[in-house]
Structure formats: C-alpha cells, structure tokens
Symmetry: C4
Subunit: 192 residues, 4 copies
C-alpha cells in the first residue's frame, strides 16, 4: 500500500517534469523558418532531458519493483532525488536559451551529478531496509553504470568550460549507456 503511493507520487512528479518542459519551448513570433530555427538548441536540450527523465522513470520503476517495505529514509531519499530532477525544466531551458554556453552546460551537468548521487543514496536506503541478500542487492552486483556515470558527469562539467560540445557528447554518452535496460534486475527477478 505505502509503496503504491510512493510510486504513484514519483510517477506523478516525473510525468509532470517531462511534460511541463515544453512550456520552456517558447512559441516563436512569426511563422517562418527563420523564426523557428533559433529554437533548435532548445529542442536539442529538450530531447536530451526527455530521454534522461525517461531513463530515471524506467530505472526508478525497476528499482522500486524490488522494494517490499518503505522506511522514512526511503521516502526522503526519494524526495531528494525528485528535488534535483524537478530542476530539469530550469536547467534545460537555460542551456537551450543560451545556445549551449559554458556555464549553463556546466549547471546542467551539476544537476545530473546531484541526481545521480541522490539515486545512489536512494539505492543505499533500500538496501539498508532490505538487507544484503535482497533481490536488489543481488541484482546490483558491482553496479558499474551507477559508479561510472558521476565520474563522466564530473569530466563533462570540467569540459564545459573548455569545449561545450565535448560536454554535450558526454551527457549523450551516459544517456546511451543507460538506455540499454537494466537486464540485471530483470534476470534476478525471473530466476527467483
């Protein structure tokens, strides 16, 4: 029961984030191609953020699938994750509006980094509640992707002050890496 409501609330917040981002795609004055084209950076950052929120929803979905009991720690770790993700429309809009300038690109990476850390904390809170022999613990294994992502974000943040294209490509790289669904949890769940 309690878990259902946690999932419903998280789904709600993620669904709203992914949808209201479009409100930062300001409708251009004029109906010509010249009026539309300057929105291309906004659109690219929109696509990137849409994919990231989709990935978080997907992984969140898989991870909570293994949860049996919700503790206060899990509740607040979950809200902490949603906090950083709630800033996605802002950093996405700022990055797109400024055509991928250094500081907005770095701030976008900082948000991704904080969300990754928040996701890690949430995982730890679930493991504390469910033990080292739980499905999640077994499924996680070494959790390579969870450990490498924050490192890449840090490199990308540094890179954004040198060459923002490199930073952008690194963000896209991490997204690609996560788009491959987390077979680990699915495999352990099925063999259970």
């Amino acid at each position: 029961m309690q878990k259902t409501r946690l999932e419903a609330f998280s789904d709600g917040v993620l669904a709203i984030i992914i949808t209201i981002m479009v409100l930062e795609l300001k409708i251009p004055h004029g109906s010509t191609l010249d009026a539309l084209l300057p929105l291309l950076p906004n659109f690219i950052s929109y696509v990137l953020s849409f994919i990231y929120i989709g990935i978080y929803w997907n992984n969140h979905h898989h991870m909570l699938h293994t949860v049996k009991q919700v503790s206060g720690g899990i509740l607040w770790a979950n809200l902490h994750l949603l906090f950083w993700l709630s800033l996605v429309p802002f950093v996405t809009g700022w990055m797109g509006e400024n055509h991928f300038e250094s500081l907005p690109v770095a701030l976008y990476g900082f948000m991704l980094l904080m969300a990754a850390i928040a996701y890690y904390i949430l995982k730890e809170q679930i493991l504390i509640k469910h033990g080292k022999d739980s499905i999640l613990a077994k499924a996680m294994g070494t959790d390579f992707k969870g450990k490498i992502s924050p490192i890449i974000y840090c490199i990308a943040i540094a890179a954004s002050f040198v060459n923002t294209l490199i930073a952008g490509l690194l963000y896209a790289l991490v997204a690609m890496m996560w788009l491959i669904p987390d077979k680990r949890i699915e495999r352990v769940l099925e063999s259970d």
Copy 2:
C-alpha cells in the same frame, strides 16, 4: 503490476498535455469582444488538439488492455510516442498564434505523422512480445485506419503549402475517423 505503472505514467503525461495546452491560450488584455475574437484561431487549434489527445488516450487505453507483459521495447516505444505527443502544446500554440500560416500547419501535421509512426512502432513491440495469435493481433486485422492516417497526414503536410484550409480539413477528417471507437478490439475481447 509493471503494466499498471506504465498505464499510470502514460495517463499522467496525457492528462498533463491535454490540460497545460490551456496555458498557451494567453489571456487577452482588455475585456471587449475585440480583445477576445483574435483568439479564435488559438481556440480552434486547441479544440483540435484536445480531440487528438483524447483519441490517443482512448486508443492507447484499448491497446494496452491487451498487454500481458511489458518488455523494455514496449516501455521505450511508449516513451517515444509520449515524446511526440508532448510537443502538442507547442505546435498547437504556434499554429493558433499565427492564424494557420503554412509552416505552423505543416509542422502540426509533421507532429501528427511522427506520433502515428510512434503508435505503429508501439503496436509492433506489443505484437512481438505477445505473438501473432494474441488478442491484439486478432483485433487489429488489416488495421486500415492505422495505415491510411499517415498517408493523409503526408498529403495534408504537402497541402499546407498550397492551401492551409485543405490541410486543416484533412486533420479534422482523420480525427473524425478515429472518433469512431475501435470496435474491433472490444468485439474480440468480448468473444474471448
């Protein structure tokens, strides 16, 4: 379980899209009929988009009714569909704001086309997971409406550069066609 959360997330996103569109209906300055009337094109495009999102919600609802297992492919095909639909408030606002000029009307059709393709991909992903003897496969049959819609969208996109009224009427025609509920799935479900 997994399916429930997929439905809940999709319902959430569709509910938000259909509702935040109203925020693109900018409140006019002044309280006279002269201040309100210029919003008529915005209102007409609002009504059209409301009907389209309603149709997608309705059909999505019917199609997912037949799903028994959710694969990674279904998850991402679903997000891909939601991506194109998430652009509805933007293309609706742009089309209305510019009083149905050629390019905005064509872009509106392009969004409809991409959403139709995404819907087709989602259907294929469900069929892959559930087999050719599944309820959905039987219900779909030749899927006339699913095949004719993208063709009409393409004609409408081309027409929008000649006469936007023709394009608009074609969009309305497809909407009318889909408003007729998908009796096929209901019939097969009942006879099951």
Copy 3:
C-alpha cells in the same frame, strides 16, 4: 479495470486544472500592499473556480462510483466534460484580470453552463448503459439541482451585462447549493 483508468485520467485532469490556475495569479512587481491589492479580484475568481472544480471532482467521484461498465459513449461524454472544465484557468484568469467586467463574467457563466450540460450528457450516457433500475437512476430521482443550475447560469449570463455583482452572487449561490454533498446517492448506496 477500464473504469479505474477513466477515474484516474479524470482525477489527473481535474487535479492539474485546480493546480495550474495558480499560474494565472501573476506574481506582482514590488513587495508592498499596493502591489498585492490589485490581485484581489484575481484571488476571488481563483477561490470561486477552486470551489467549482472541487464540486465537480466530488460529484464526478460519486457518480462514477455507481458505474459498472464503461461504454464508448461514457468515455467521450467524460472527455467532453473535461474539455469545458479545462477552460476554467482561462476564463478565471480573464475574469480576474479584468476586475469582473461584463463580458468575462458572462463567458465564465457560459463555461459553467456548458460544463453543466456536459455533466448532464455524461449522466445520461451512464443511465443508458446501466438502465432505469440502476443505483444511479434511483439515486438521481428528480435531480432538482441538476435541472435548476443551468437555468441560474442563464440568468447570471444575462445579468452580467446589467450588473456583474448579481451574476457573481448567482455563481456563488449555485456553488453553495452543490457544496451540500449529494446525500441521495450515498443514501441509496447504503440501503442497497
């Protein structure tokens, strides 16, 4: 199942309408009372609309409680109701922004009238599906409130061109009338 998703979608749309209305309460420039006070009409129309959406959610909740099967007619009658309610943030903002001028007040009443008619159509669709001996049919009885409300809205729309205060009081009167919960359905349900 099908009914659950209809309720969830309607709840989602109503929850979003009731919440995004606040975005039409534009934050004033300046931090003095002089900056805040001009928002009083906006706030009053906000309160009125909040109560109306609350009433619709409450009654919708009671009415759908009696539904056993969802037909295509019920689905579309429900979307039709949500369409008129989705315009609430717009008419609320316009009425508040223009300090209750005649035309915005009349348009607000028109939206209420159309929503009332849509609610009536939805009720009819449910009755068609469930029969004259259904719980809803028994509970409705003469449906005095459902019949008197549209009449009062019509009077209020006419009144708004003479004296907007009278129109406003009539809207408030109908809201008061509906705030009294619909004991009829509860009574019949309990005696069942």
Copy 4:
C-alpha cells in the same frame, strides 16, 4: 475504494504543486554567473517550499493510512487543505522575487498558518468519523508538533516586519521539526 481516489487526487495535486513551482524560477537572460546569482533568493525559497510540500505529502500519507471511511466532511477538509497549499507556488515566487522583503515573508507565513489550521481541521474530521479509540486518536496523543507549529508561524509573521531573517529561520525550524518522521502513528500501527 473511495479512500484510494481521495489519496490519488491529493497525491496528484501535491505532485503538481511541487513540480510547477519551478516555472516561477524564471530563466535568466544571459549565461553568466552575474545573470544566475540574483536567482539565489528564488532558489532558497524554492528549496524551503519543496521541503514543506514534501512534509505535507509525507504526513498526509501517514494520516490517511489510518482512515477507513471517507465522509463528506473529510473530503471538503482535504480540499480546504489543498487550497492553501495550492497557493505555495505564488507565495514562494513572490518571496523569492522580492529577496525576502517583509510583506512577502509575512504572507508566506500566513499561507503556512492557514495550511496548518486546515491540516488540524482535516485531522478533527477524521477523528469525528473514526472515534476516540481509533488508531489515529491513539497515535496523535497530545500532538505537540501540531499545536506548536501555528504558534511559531504567528511569531514568525510578526517577526517578518522586524527582521525577516528571524522569520525565515523560524520557518526552517518548523520544517526541521517535521522532517523527523511521525513515529507515533507508525508505532501504534505496528503494535496493533
């Protein structure tokens, strides 16, 4: 059933409030640190409000866990609570935009005070329906936090006209106090 829909609607509204607040964080023109830094007060008030909505969601979740039957009184007391919370994006934006000037800080406290009173009324409505021997009644006990919070809000509102920093610290203090999860209800539920 009825309770499920009340929870779903409340979760929806709270999820939307917590997420659309970000739309009041207006994207700065310019991509420099000088453009971003003036948003610091907006960000701080955003964080404070995010925590408050999180607390309300969490406590609401615990309190409704004990509800067995939903009365009309509970429904309307719940909507009354959601009304005051729905103003959070407005008061948060106004307070941040004006860099914590006296009147916006006082209005923020007034909203918190009204929400606290609304929460108290909701609790009373649940107790009326479920009796003095119910789980909630036992769990609440003296309800120290529920009684002290409104008093601190009143002091903070008064303080905001003398020194807004004191008011801000008092708001943060109450948030801290509530962040500690309500062990009382959990304890009684477990011993049941």
